[in-house]
């Protein structure tokens, strides 16, 4: 069990690093959302792993399902915001939003 936890924990941390790096480095708003998605995948795996090692997979699955639902709502709304930005500025790059005021 300890070996399984260690191996999965390393996978989770590396996935989270990839997601964070993507969000930090990219200027493209769609790619930033893809980074958020990868972070969410790492978090989902961590939730299920925690449920597995504490023998509470049912509770972990319920929380993971809730998280997936939240993920969809966040992505759908964020994509709507990106579409609005694209219609106003003609670009999906964060640098084109520097003149936003208010």
């Amino acid at each position: 069990m300890i070996e399984l936890f260690s191996i999965f924990a390393i996978g989770v941390v590396l996935t989270l690093i990839v997601g964070f790096y993507c969000i930090l480095v990219t200027d493209n708003l769609i790619r930033a959302l893809i980074g958020v998605e990868i972070l969410a995948k790492g978090a989902t795996l961590l939730l299920i792993l925690a449920g597995y090692v504490t023998r509470q997979t049912a509770l972990a699955q319920a929380l993971a399902i809730t998280m997936i639902i939240v993920e969809v709502a966040v992505i759908a709304t964020a994509v709507g915001v990106v579409l609005c930005a694209f219609r106003h500025t003609g670009s999906i790059h964060a640098s084109s939003l520097r003149n936003v005021k208010g």
């Binding site: 999965f8 996935t15 795996l45 299920i48 925690a50 023998r55 319920a62 399902i65 997936i68 994509v79």
Partner: protein, 163 residues
């Protein structure tokens, strides 16, 4: 165990390919592949319901949302594509280095706090947990879904008005 390690390596590689590839379409395909690999891992961790949700929603619905968005984007000229590729290499060359270094460092850690394994076995039926123990979560999920749907409708309506 070896299969788990192979799947985890595939998960990290797919995630890296997703963020490092130049074309957005390939990124979205990479995201779907990452979700599919995560699905297999969730099945292996005795979580079939979460795995099915991950496969249908994260590997199916979310890439479809992204695809519908990038269908608006213009195709890049070969010159612009070459510039973009050089820019991506400049921005992302550090990522494989960081991932490999972090992976090597983490494999050296031998201490795992044993008290995290001390949880008592809880309810094993996910339906009971979802509908009885965590039924308020379902209310929250409905509110969040409605909030997301209304948010999208409002945003697109506003955009139309400005046009």
């Amino acid at each position: 165990m070896n299969l788990n390690i192979a799947l985890l390596i595939a998960l990290v590689l797919a995630a890296m390919w997703t963020v490092m590839t130049t074309k957005l379409l390939r990124s979205i395909v990479g995201l779907a592949i990452t979700s599919a690999i995560l699905t297999v891992l969730l099945f292996r961790l005795n979580s079939p319901l979460a795995a099915v949700f991950e496969l249908s929603v994260c590997a199916g619905l979310i890439p479809a949302i992204f695809l519908s968005t990038i269908s608006l984007a213009r195709r890049l000229t070969p010159e612009a594509l070459a510039i973009r590729q050089r820019e991506r290499i400049r921005k992302f060359w550090l990522l494989p280095v960081i991932v490999i270094l972090a992976g090597v460092c983490l494999t050296q850690i031998r201490h795992v706090p044993l008290d995290i394994f001390a949880g008592a076995p809880g309810e094993s039926d996910v339906r009971k947990v979802l509908w009885q123990t965590r039924h308020l979560d379902l209310f929250g999920q409905i509110v969040i879904l409605l909030g997301g749907a209304f948010g999208v409708v409002t945003l697109l309506k506003e955009a139309k008005k400005h046009d």
